[in-house]
Amino acid sequence: MPPANELPAPALNQARPKRRITILRKGLMVLALPLLYQAVFIGLLLKRQHDLNDAQFWTLHTKTVMETSDHLFLLLVTQHSNLRAYILTGNPVFEDEMNNTQKNLRAALLRLKALIQDNRSQEDRLNHIAKLAQSQLEFQDQVIAEVRTSERNKAVSEIKTLKGKELMDDLQNAIDSFRAQEEKLDTERLETLRRSDVEQMWLLVGGMAVNLFVGALAAGMFSREIGSRILAVAENTRRIACGEKLPPILGGTDEIHDLDAQFHSMSDALDGARFKERVYQQTLERRASELTRANRDLSHKTQEIEMFVYSVSHDLRSPLVNLQGFSKELGTARLALQNILAGDLSDEARDSAKALIERDVTESIHYIQTAVTRLSGIIDALLRLSRAGRVEYRPAQVALPLVISRILEAMRGTIAQRNVEITVLDLAPVWADPTAVEQIFANLIGNAVNYLDPNRPGKIEIGMTERQVDDLEHPLTYYVKDNGLGIADAYLPKVFAVFQRLHGSVAPGEGVGLALVRRMVERHGGKVWVESIEGVGSTFLVAFPAKAEFSPLSAVAPRKESVNFRSRHLQCPPTTP
């Protein structure tokens, strides 16, 4: 699992209040982008609509202005013709008519002025028109006044001066110019409108394209921010199912990150469970192998016991055969003697009886005594062997050089007699029962001395070796090496078995010495074995556990298990009321 320092953000997320970017927020962001664009687009469209309306308004406005100016011109013409008619006829009807027209004329001028007040150049033109109209009206008022005062000729001459006509022409020109300007404005506005139409079309097309692009962008963002992350989480669940290693927790602060973090902690829990399972498995396997070993040892021991019983029965039976046999021989000899004594005791008979007593009887008694001694020896040996298995050991740090020197001192007589050269090298102290250690080395040295080759001077060496020993780590291995008779290969496996005697005639004994040694060494958790070449010599090796805590004799605390089999559902002890 990735340690927290690789990804500090998720671990510290809860501690540090940070603005979370949730899926909702991401969704809103993804939606907001096209929405924002669409709002801008709609705004643009609205503005366009507004511009269009504006243009239409202005077209209408221009039309109104032109109509009004036409109307103004018509009124002026009407006024002018009315004036002429009034001069010609002097009819006051025309005067009224003219007054009306004049009123209308002023109204039209005012309306026009109101219409074009936003346009400075047109206003100037209109002012010019108004001034001309004013002059025209003044001229007409003057003419009307002259008609009223019956100075019609003066009025006619006034007309004849063509002042009115000039004024009218000027007015017409001014109005034409005004109209032309207004038309020009209208044309310009139409042109703007047309251009705006094209722009609008491009705007629509472009907007569509941009919309598509933004949509794609939003989809991409959604895929990256949501879809692919969910896929990653799904992949992680698959990894958990397959027991694979998970990649670091997904970044971000959204729910998907939370989900992935949950999956990671789940995976951690699973890993923990798997680890525990593995440990349990290993413990189980270790126990099983221990059990197998114990079983093997047990069957080995059973076999040994069978061998032991077999040997004992044989060895006990052997002297019994002699006891029985020679008792019967004694009986036979007794009968023969009785027969001899029953007859005349001739010299021949006397010699025969003497021979019987000296040969058969003496021999039989000798064998019976030997058999009894042997039986007693076997029983003693059995008792010693049994005692070696039962006696309570009191382990201590044993200084071996002291022990060896004590043994050699006790054997001094034999050693001197056999002319043996004994070398004792450096010996490390050992954690063992002192009595047992003394017995072990006494047996081994005794054997070495007893089974020396009489044909060469004896050499015995006692030392240590750094040999590897099965089942023992860094053992303390001592050896007793001799140049004695040696042991044949065929006999090597039986050396430590009880009642087995290789060199039966060389030295007295029951054949339990090495069996005892093995018993004692094994009770110390050690091993004893022999290496030998027949006719060259033997080396007996004894390995003890290196440290006190490895020795089965030490009162070490029971081994602690590496796994705590703690129950998850501990029940509280009942509380005392």
């Binding site: 077999y310 044989h314 060895d315 039976r317 052997s318 002297p319 019994l320 055969v321 002699n322 029985q324 046999g325 020679f326 008792s327 019967k328 021989e329 021999e363 064998y367 030997t370 058999a371 044949a488 065929a490 006999y491 005697r501 290789l502 060199h503 039966g504 005639s505």
Partner: protein, 149 residues
């Protein structure tokens, strides 16, 4: 009869008393000549291998081996194995005469080629009887001679 067809008995036995008893009772059964005793398997094998060279035993003599099992150095089983594996000695009849009555041991000896297996009984009468019958048996044993003469 026995003098005409002498049979040499080779007894391998480490227990002096047993050897003595066997010899005495064989003599009582009428087997008087040709008795040789060795103390273990090694001595027996040495004796057999030196038989050709030495004149202590006539080559023409018939030999029967009485073999104890529990002996020092080379035990009876190993000796039997070697005797039966050697072409020069495998024809010699071998009678196991031992205190061991373990059926597995008996089977093993027959497998290795022993001819008869006799248990030394503790009851002396039975033992004497067994030896006596063995003596009678040995008296009629005739080892076929080479060339059929």
């Amino acid at each position: 009869m026995s003098t005409n067809h002498p049979v040499t008995i080779l007894l391998a036995e480490d227990d002096d008393g047993h050897a003595n008893l066997v010899q005495r009772n064989l003599e009582r059964a009428g087997l008087v000549n040709g008795f040789l005793r060795v103390r273990d398997g090694q001595e027996l094998l040495d004796c057999l291998s030196s038989r050709g060279a030495s004149h202590s035993m006539e080559l023409d003599e018939a030999i029967v081996i009485l073999l104890d099992i529990n002996m020092p150095r080379i035990d009876g089983i190993e000796a039997l194995k070697q005797i039966k594996a050697n072409p020069a000695t495998f024809r010699i009849p071998v009678i196991m005469l031992t205190t061991t009555d373990d059926p597995r041991e008996i089977d093993r000896c027959y497998e290795l080629g022993c001819n008869v297996y006799i248990t030394k009984p503790v009851e002396y009468d039975v033992f004497i009887d067994a030896i006596r019958r063995l003596g009678l048996f040995l008296q009629i044993v005739r080892r076929p001679r080479n060339g059929g003469k």
